[in-house]
């Protein structure tokens, strides 16, 4: 009798988050972290951005973006430490820090998006 495992569920989050971050992150990062700060493109005003993120659908989009990407990153980073650096004796602690960190980030995202006036 094999033990029940959380791995399939975590892998599902990993794979969904991998797709979401692959699709959406390059353009997000290009615009907000490179093109706007470096003046390559004219950024929208802060008021425009506030209006843009107000609709519930956009907030759900941003929440899913954060939530799935965080669990994708947590899962992958955990295995980077496990396979790459072969840190196996700290497995439990690493799991708690990775998925715990992702959970904290997800709650923070939900809180911030609820606070949007």
């Amino acid at each position: 009798m094999s033990k029940r495992s959380n791995e399939p569920f975590l892998w599902l989050l990993f794979s969904a988050g991998g797709s979401v971050s692959a699709m959406l992150m390059p353009v997000h990062l290009f615009l907000f972290a490179l093109a706007f700060p470096l003046g390559w493109l004219d950024p929208p005003s802060d008021e425009t951005l506030l209006v843009l993120i107000r609709p519930p659908l956009v907030r759900v989009y941003l929440f899913v973006f954060c939530f799935l990407s965080l669990f994708h990153a947590a899962h992958r980073f955990r295995f980077t430490l496990y396979d790459g650096l072969q840190i196996k004796h700290l497995n439990e602690l690493i799991n708690v820090l990775c998925y715990g960190g992702a959970a904290v980030g997800t709650v923070a995202a939900a809180y911030l998006l609820c606070q949007v006036p």
Binding site: P26, H28, F32, I53, C66, R76, G84, L112
Partner: protein
């Protein structure tokens, strides 16, 4: 029935170097791909800080813009962008390996699965850029 492997020492593993992934180019690209997770997390963090700034008025926004224009920040973000791009390309190239589709017993070729993924990526990116820049 005797299991022939029963008496072999199961716990013996040859010690592998901590830096095994430097030995070959393919190992290095594997570990770089895995390391992209750090920058995926970083991008979410930036997004959260930006949402906070946008909802907290002019002074928070000004501080955010100044922070994003800092040379150190720009340096980190160039690296982050390259890693996220690497993640996207490797992810779409891996999709046909993870998702094997057969039509009439024939395996659908890799490009027929990764191609539409790349096309969707371009369309989605242009769509988001349009929504953000329109304002």
């Amino acid at each position: 029935m005797i299991n022939p492997t029963e008496y072999l020492p199961k716990s013996y593993h040859r010690r592998m170097s901590t830096y095994w992934w430097l030995a070959r180019w393919s190992y290095l690209t594997f570990i770089l791909r895995e390391a992209s997770s750090v920058f995926v997390g970083w991008t979410v963090l930036l997004t959260l800080v930006q949402i906070w700034a946008v909802t907290h008025g002019p002074s928070a926004n000004a501080a955010f813009h100044e922070w994003m224009r800092h040379p150190l920040m720009l340096g980190v973000n160039v690296v982050a962008f390259l890693f996220v791009l690497f993640h996207a390309v490797t992810w779409f190239s891996l999709t046909p390996k993870a998702m094997v589709i057969r039509v009439k017993g024939q395996r659908v070729p890799d490009w027929a699965i990764s191609g539409p993924n790349y096309a969707a990526w371009v369309m989605v990116s242009l769509g988001i850029a349009w929504v953000v820049l329109r304002g």
